[in-house]
């Protein structure tokens, strides 16, 4: 297991390098540059050339990449060109908000999704199943900014239970978490239901029934354990998505976060910030998959055996 883990972590290094090249290139190939956002009316063309030189933007791309990567490996994310702050500071400001929102949303959608999926599977093809599956389907098709505004109208404007926007205290987290979580719930519930149904048809379930175990115990203690393996894989993949994919929700609820920081700096072509944000998100996806693999190994002895 340990040697597998080390190998698995070492494998992340080439992936990380490849991702960093892609991020760097994509960003520098899209038209537009940060200097345009810095220049104010009245400054001269020479000032532009000076600024380009100051930020090293006049050097060849491979050299710029080398400098950037070297610094990143030393833990220095650089200084934002347009925002004029150390990038690490900007990210440190945004990340806790994203982690709180994304983490809670993930927790909500896993708990809710697994529960609904189990209920639906136990009542297969009867009305609770239809109701739940219909409900989650409707929930997952609603665009999150729209769902956010609707929740806001109902719970904040209408009932006055939660603040409309902002990031003050836990009450302001409820609606954004619901908005993101409801979309994820659909996916988790559907996968849980399908894999529960699939697992129930396996031979070992028949054996358990033959041994005289109670059907509920079979479902929850044995079938669910099998069924959760694909669910965990999906959830692990969603970690990165949830950190970056919350942009629209962050904007609607006026919350700071990695998503808003990314969009803002992307529109200003603030290269160091965009690169750092994308790198964070890529790392989140990479670590998420790693976490998923480890969890799977812990849950499934067959995977563990294959690794040794």
């Amino acid at each position: 297991m340990t040697s597998w883990l080390i190998r698995r972590i070492l494998l992340l290094v080439p992936v990380f390098l490849a991702v960093s090249v892609v991020i760097f290139l994509i960003l520098h190939f899209i038209p537009g540059d940060p200097i345009d956002n810095l220049l104010k009316v009245g400054s001269s063309p020479q000032a532009r050339a000076e600024m380009e030189a100051r930020y090293g933007l006049d050097r060849p791309l491979p050299v710029q990449y080398g400098i950037w990567l070297g610094k990143v490996l030393h833990g220095d994310l650089g200084t934002a060109i347009v925002a004029r702050r150390p990038v690490a500071d900007l990210i440190a400001q945004a990340l806790p908000h994203s982690l709180a929102l994304g983490g809670l949303a993930l927790l909500f959608s896993s708990a809710m999704g697994v529960m609904l999926g189990v209920i639906a599977a136990l009542n297969r093809d009867r009305w609770p199943d239809r109701l739940i599956m219909g409900g989650v389907l409707a929930g997952s098709t609603m665009p999150s900014f729209w769902l956010g505004l609707i929740l806001m109208l109902v719970f904040s404007v209408g009932l006055g239970w939660f603040p409309i926007s902002g990031a003050r205290g836990w009450t302001s987290l409820v609606l954004p978490v619901l908005t993101i979580g409801l979309g994820g719930t659909a996916l988790v519930a559907r996968i849980t239901r399908v894999s529960m149904i699939e697992a129930s048809a396996r031979d070992f379930v028949m054996l358990l029934h033959a041994k005289g175990l109670s059907p509920l115990r079979i479902q929850l203690a044995h079938v669910l354990r099998h069924a959760l393996i694909p669910v965990v894989t999906i959830l692990a993949l969603r970690i990165g998505w949830i950190l970056g994919g919350a942009v629209t929700v962050e904007v609607v609820f006026a919350r700071p976060g990695l998503g808003t920081l990314l969009i803002k700096s992307l529109s200003q072509h603030d290269y160091p910030v965009v690169q750092a944000c994308l790198l964070m998100l890529a790392m989140a996806v990479m670590l998420g998959t790693l976490l998923g693999d480890i969890l799977q190994a812990l849950m499934d002895p067959r995977v563990r055996a294959a690794m040794a």
């Binding site: 956002n37 009316v41 009245g42 702050r85 945004a94 926007s165 902002g166 992307l266 529109s267």
Partner: protein
């Protein structure tokens, strides 16, 4: 144990009333929402920042303040004299002014501050100042390397907010983020990037700009500036009383705000101009007749009414109406004139074809019309397209992402475009039509020898303000007669506020809602 119900209710309501009374005394507090364009400003450091929000203007004062008619008035400088040849300026500073950290503001402060400013990327604003001489504690003299009639304008800009040099040097990059010290009517209490800024009243303040009635401490004790990127969220907050004022309301929400009984809208002349640049180097627009025809095909009144709901005003020059340099002869102002547009196109050899598109030598009059992806631009551009079609010009719309369109302009391939700018100084003519900035910002690719001559005279050949106004008027006027663009529309700056909670001054003698207005603003008790 039975309480008489009525008595309990009575005592409860009494204590509730006491609570409200207490709250009212405390209630000189207000929550403002920053304009969406100011969301995410990462620092209150006026020297380094590229984007400063409204709260900055309350933390800092400037030497000079600007009135609604864009004239200049004292602030931290009580008075000033300009040498007749424009080579020196003497500023007499207000005495007894203190920074929030107790440091005094005096002539030395100005000297140290300008030195710091000169090392910044906004240094061009003071590059004409060769040396700052401290005459006495309250007098500074700027020795100039060349006359700079624009000096007062620069000094009134928020980037030239007077900072406290000592703490600025000590705090380094943290100045403007964790701590910030100015002389302004409010002190920074807390700042969370992208979220909110809390300011508390500076009770020692007695040196406000004379443009507001109240020059002493502000009436509001505490202001929270919130950052909300989504306009509909901000509107819901205003509607439900979560916030007291939105510092920017998009035109399409103004109607919604007006429907609410407790909300009010205040509009002030804005600093934006919407216009259609015409690339003078691309046929058929290398022919001035075709340019004039395209410019005069734009029906500004119709656009004002149909696209902008009648809010704002039409533009007939390149500059906002408040600027004196916009006062060009009426004949040179660009107005809708379909008869003239059609006649000019006929004259230029473009004859009306069968399908309503003009033709010359078998070629149809088809041009490209670029715009950016924001919805207001798309709507406006469609109307412009229809208006061009009415005189026989077929324009094909291409939409670019707003952050990419500048790079597209640099290719010089554009023919027509619809865009806008935000600026309140005549030097914007130099910025968008200067021959050394072809592509972007000079989207029109305009490079005319006579214009360059007038431009040089306007930019560096003026000794004082009157000369500068005259020179810029001549330059602006000449540019208009060459039709490198068609002016379209001037929006207003609109703020929406809760009239049950906020009292705004009757007149605001400033170019926008800023410190002058907020000093006179009151919270209803």
């Amino acid at each position: 144990m039975t309480f008489p119900f009525r008595k309990t209710l009575l005592s409860a309501s009494v204590s509730l009333a006491a609570l409200f009374a207490g709250a009212a005394v405390m209630a000189q507090e207000a929550v403002f929402v920053l304009n969406t364009s100011e969301v995410g400003a990462p620092t209150y450091n006026p020297i380094k920042a590229t984007n400063l929000n409204k709260a900055t203007t309350l933390i800092f004062d400037r030497l000079v303040s600007q009135a609604a008619d864009l004239s200049y008035h004292p602030w931290l400088a009580e008075s000033w004299e300009e040498a007749p040849d424009g080579m020196a300026w003497t500023f007499h500073l207000k005495k007894g002014v203190k920074f929030h950290n107790g440091e005094p503001f005096n002539a030395n402060t100005v000297k140290e501050w300008l030195e710091l400013f000169k090392a910044s990327e906004n240094a061009y604003m003071t590059e004409a100042v060769a040396e700052v001489q401290v005459i006495d504690d309250a007098t500074v003299k700027f020795v100039m390397s060349r006359p700079e009639p624009n000096l007062l304008y620069n000094l009134s800009s928020s980037y030239m907010s007077v900072i406290e040099p000592k703490s600025y040097k000590e705090l380094g990059d943290n100045y403007g983020v964790t701590e910030v010290y100015g002389t302004g009517p409010f002190k920074l209490e807390s700042f969370a990037i992208g979220q909110e800024t809390v300011l508390t009243r500076n009770d020692d303040y007695t040196w406000g700009s004379p443009l507001s009635k109240n020059t002493g401490p502000a009436k509001i004790a505490k202001i929270t500036f919130r950052e909300i990127a989504e306009d509909s969220t901000a509107f819901l907050e205003l509607k439900t009383g979560g916030v007291d004022m939105l510092l920017g309301v998009p035109a399409d929400l103004i109607g919604e705000v007006k429907k609410e009984a407790n909300l009010a809208v205040l509009t002030m002349p804005g600093q934006d101009v919407y216009y259609m640049p015409i690339n003078v180097t691309k046929p058929p627009f290398d022919d001035i007749k075709v340019r004039e025809a395209a410019a005069k095909a734009i029906n500004q009144e119709e656009i004002l009414a149909s696209v902008f709901g009648g809010i704002g005003s039409v533009a007939d020059t390149f500059l906002i109406s408040a600027l004196p340099e916009g006062h060009v002869p009426d004949a040179d102002k660009i107005h809708y004139d379909p008869v003239r547009a059609n006649a000019l196109l006929d004259e230029a050899g473009w004859k009306m074809g069968a399908n309503g598109v003009r033709e010359k030598d078998g070629q149809p009059l088809k041009v490209s019309l670029w715009t950016q992806s924001d919805s207001i631009f798309r709507r406006l551009t469609e109307v412009v397209q229809a208006q061009l079609k009415a005189v026989g010009i077929e324009a094909e719309i291409t939409t670019f992402d707003s952050s990419m369109i500048r790079d597209q302009y640099k290719t010089g391939e554009q023919q027509l475009a619809v865009r806008s700018y935000n600026w309140d100084n005549a030097d914007i003519v130099d910025w968008f039509f200067g021959g050394d900035r072809l592509g972007y910002p000079n989207v029109s690719m305009f490079n005319d020898p006579k214009a360059e001559e007038l431009r040089a005279k306007a930019m560096t050949g003026s000794k004082n303000m009157e000369e500068r106004v005259a020179n810029f008027t001549a330059y602006h006027d000449y540019v208009l007669t060459q039709f490198p663009m068609a002016p379209i529309y001037q929006p207003v700056d609109a703020v929406a506020y809760n009239a049950d909670h906020l009292v705004l001054p009757d007149t605001i003698n400033a170019p926008g809602i800023g410190p002058v207005a907020i000093m006179d603003m009151e919270v209803k008790e």
